[in-house]
Symmetry: C2
Subunit: 581 residues, 2 copies
């Protein structure tokens, strides 16, 4: 059987960590070689980390990336490595280096640059036009990058028509819930459309708002899944790819032949670059087939949040985090995620009761901390609240107590958490969910104060599902039932309930999804069956609170459209998206 042993190195890089990223690349090259791989592929921009954003505008950053690429050359004895980097022959290109046996054999430049959603690649890169085929042990290998493969008539069609049998597609594809199955369907179709084996290697790890979910994939030329890598973890997948089967399938596929001939006739040919002989045939023992099942929902989201939290904390040089525990479900799930990400010894809870806190709130926070094995400090805010009201009494004279006094409590709590952060070097995790961020039901510089907003992109209804999932998985109530059962409240005034200000979450969340994630207009949302006054109220809240979101900490993206770089709205806007007249 003519075959190629391919390794997909799904690694966790860090933006700008040239030393760490290249050390990891060398380590995985060595591991792949020791497993008999002929070729090992790394994620998009593995040398720089992804996305480096405006670091790309610094020539010294680009130069170091090129030096690091050149240093890698001598570590590729007997193996082909496909490594993402930034090429800069004259302009910048998002590129893959094809390195073998100490030589830079060729370079591929990404042809399709994403500039939507969280992506800004037109800001930095020129699209590529060259589209080489590399022959490894006589087998045609086409390399392309991420977005390229989403285009049916893009590089994969050219490479397949130039008789590539294997496509290596290197990625840094940010996670959102549900993306995985869409991605698998697309890749299966690309493979069968072009009668090629498609090897999809993805980045894994957290980077600011983004989580890269790994889950690398290999489909054979019939669109059948050959292997699926781990999700949310580093992985090295090594698979023997049967290229005789590719040739056999092509012989029986006149439609594919016509397509490849038409492509060749278009004049967009691919130059062929031969790769020096690598590896040996002798050391190849057959490999067991890998077939991991993908996570179900909401487990998948849970793992994304854990990885995103761990990487944000650790990659920014922190070890410990501190969380204000109110006894509510939001701070409880954040504490559980943090403990899973960092260990209970690195998570500190702080209960900051006020005159409006119910006894249940305090005991629930204690019970949660006990269940998680984490430390809990109790620091009441009564003294500072009284002193603040006193200090403001003259300025506030004659005014009724209201939102100023409510927010003051949240801000005093923010002060305490930040004081602990400044004193002991702990990162503050904030606990607001997406429903709150959307409607502005949070206090700027109060409960919004912190370094990472763990569940900023998680709607409240999904917070409940995650809590149920994690309790079920633990086989016990990590999050106390009393926390899950109680009615949501901010406890900033007597008998306050969320439903005094907001629609019930099971109504609110679908409206928010339609308005924020799908950009539907109010009229379209009403047509889904929601009360017009309710839609009007919710949409107005969302629009009015852009200023708060602009100053919020980054949060982990888990939906198709998160607040942050994914959704860029002006603060200053008089647009009223309601049917006029």
């Amino acid at each position: 059987m003519r075959s190629l042993r391919v390794a997909l190195a799904q690694i966790n890089t860090t933006v700008g960590d040239f030393a760490g990223n290249t050390a990891k690349i060398r380590e995985y090259i060595d591991r792949a070689r020791s497993l008999g791989a002929d070729l090992v592929a790394f994620p998009e921009m593995a040398i720089t980390g992804y996305p480096p954003e405006d670091l790309l505008l610094k020539t010294h950053f680009i130069q170091e990336n090129l030096r690091r690429r050149d240093e890698l050359l001598r570590h590729t004895q007997g193996i082909v490595a496909v490594v993402g980097f930034v090429d800069a022959p004259n302009d910048l290109y998002n590129a893959a280096a094809i390195i073998a046996d100490g030589n830079l054999c060729g370079v591929y430049h990404k042809a399709y640059l994403p500039n939507y959603g969280v992506f800004d690649e037109d800001r930095y890169f020129r699209p590529g036009s060259i589209c080489p085929i590399f022959t490894v042990k006589g087998i045609g290998v086409g390399v392309n990058i991420c977005e390229d493969i989403w285009h049916a008539t893009g590089p994969i069609a050219r490479q397949a028509s130039a008789e590539a049998q294997i496509i290596i597609n290197i990625n840094a594809s940010p996670y959102h819930a549900g993306k995985g199955s869409f991605r698998e369907t697309m890749l299966a179709t690309r493979a069968s459309d072009n009668t090629v084996i498609v090897c999809y290697v993805n980045l894994v790890g957290g980077q600011d708002e983004l989580v890269f979910d790994g889950g690398s994939l290999i489909f054979n030329e019939k669109g059948q899944l050959l292997a699926r890598g781990k999700q949310f973890e580093e992985d090295l997948m090594v698979v023997d790819l049967d290229v005789e089967s590719v040739f056999r399938t092509r012989l029986r596929d006149p439609r594919g032949r016509q397509q490849r001939m038409a492509q060749q006739a278009s004049g967009q040919s691919c130059p062929t670059i031969p790769i020096p002989q690598v590896g040996t045939e002798a050391d190849k023992t057959p490999l067991a087939r890998r077939d991991l099942q993908p996570y179900d929902m909401p487990e998948e989201v849970y793992h994304a949040l854990v990885l995103g939290t761990r990487d944000y904390v650790n990659k920014n040089g922190f070890k410990k985090v501190v969380i204000g525990l109110s006894g509510g479900i939001d701070s409880s799930i954040v504490a559980v995620i943090a403990v899973d990400a960092l260990g209970p010894e690195n998570v500190l809870g702080v209960s900051m009761p006020s005159r409006y806190s119910s006894p249940g709130s305090k005991s629930d926070a204690q019970l949660l901390a006990h269940n998680l094995g984490m430390k809990l400090l109790t620091i009441p805010i009564e003294k500072t609240f009284t002193a603040s009201l006193d200090t403001l009494s003259e300025a506030f004279a004659g005014t009724p107590s209201g939102v100023a006094e409510e927010n003051l409590q949240a801000r005093l709590r923010g002060n305490l958490l930040m004081a602990l952060s400044n004193k002991f070097g702990w990162l503050v995790l904030t606990t607001g969910n997406k429903s709150e961020m959307a409607t502005g039901y949070a206090t700027l510089y109060g409960d919004m104060a912190g370094g990472l907003a763990v569940i900023k992109d998680v709607p409240k209804t999904l917070v409940y599902k995650l809590s149920h999932y994690r309790n079920a998985q633990a086989g016990r109530d990590l999050i106390p039932q009393s926390v899950i059962a109680k009615e949501p409240t901010a406890e900033l005034r007597p008998n306050q309930r969320d439903v005094d200000s907001l629609p019930p979450y099971e109504v609110l969340d679908p409206i928010l999804e339609a308005y924020i994630e799908e950009d539907k207009g109010p009229g379209e949302i009403v047509a889904l069956g929601f009360d017009p006054a309710m839609v009007h109220k919710v949409v107005t809240m969302v629009d009015r609170n852009e200023y708060k979101r602009r100053q919020s900490p980054p949060g982990i993206k888990i939906t198709p459209k998160a607040f942050g770089r994914d959704r860029r709205l002006p603060i200053t806007s008089r647009y009223q998206p309601f049917p006029q007249g």
Copy 2:
């Protein structure tokens, strides 16, 4: 003399204010008509306001923009109007409608989309390919949009070669210091290169971080300035353009003829669209020539800050602002700007002395408020500071007083200002300058708490220049000499001075400019003559404080690269831009 009377309507639009923007467009059409104009041109995307950012992804927003364009048609009796809008025949285009006598005669689509700096136009628009010429009273008029004219071989070359005599270039060009003269040089060259009259109409007004500076321009076909509009104010410039002179100049310019012939031979021709007869010849009295002088520095920056502040406050529905006055120069200049923008009756100062405040700080704040005729509240923070230290005494036991205790004071002040904001509906203006924002010499949720960071893009050394300028302009010390003369201090511990933590500002600011605005590497900055250890320290401070800037309020861009949408760096980055090894 064959001539066209052209009006440039330099208006202040608001993003999403369809009713307000189109009412203003109608008003200026009427004014232009009454002044005998044949054609009136409005800024880029005048109907929607600029930049609407992701509002453009909402189909209901696009539809309303099209309805508003159609409503304008019937208001164009006897005149040609060139109006910026978003066209959506199949995809989105940044477009100009050419409307005359009730008809939509044609549409131009912007061909060059900026996607650098503060711009994201590739995120929304498809580049245009059509390039029509409109004949108005037999005179060829080419219309193009903003970025288009920065390309020497772009639409202007095609339109001139198709015998356009006049180019209408509609803009939304964000201000930064020094851009004006660069723009004038370029436009003069385009006009003489192509032997056309260039009419450049710019937006005016503030939009979040951006200020559009107006200063519309007309150059004749020899590259001579015919007219310059007001800066930082609305304006209607009406000028008679002598197209006989264009023809005469072309007859004597064989080089231009060759260029136009070559362009025509390239096959990129422009369709000609005749515009119905407009206006009358009878009502034309000769116009006086307009020749305003542009502002010198730092007056120009000062006006930008005043306009940016006024528009941010008013367009967001606020009337009054509140500012913490420390007696230092930063809060003093912000107060002066705010009073110039909003009037003294709409600006409230708050002095919040602590145990570390010098008597001079308090008296300077009082003197400043007196000079400006604004109200000053005094709210000491001693009581809340003591209560907070008390509350934290157990958690902080055994630790030396340090940055936690310092930041606590700043955050308690932030609490007070935000409490006043929540109670009375005043917008908080923050007072940090660019040197502080760059080095992180500011307290997150403390002095960084507020809605608009007025001088966020103003280096400290420029703060002094602005203060001297404004005092000189007033003919008296609005900002007390004692404020200007005192050594900068945060007054968060005894005898604290900025130079304990930072290099002197006259050293710091040029390093920051090289690193931030010019993206120079540390090695290049040292080569400019700065101490390597100092450069290392400053660069490290800048890089480590990205997390603070990410949560800072928007500030008004006045330099080529401001913090905000202009400079997009990851928080998570291990990049160390120092020569290795």
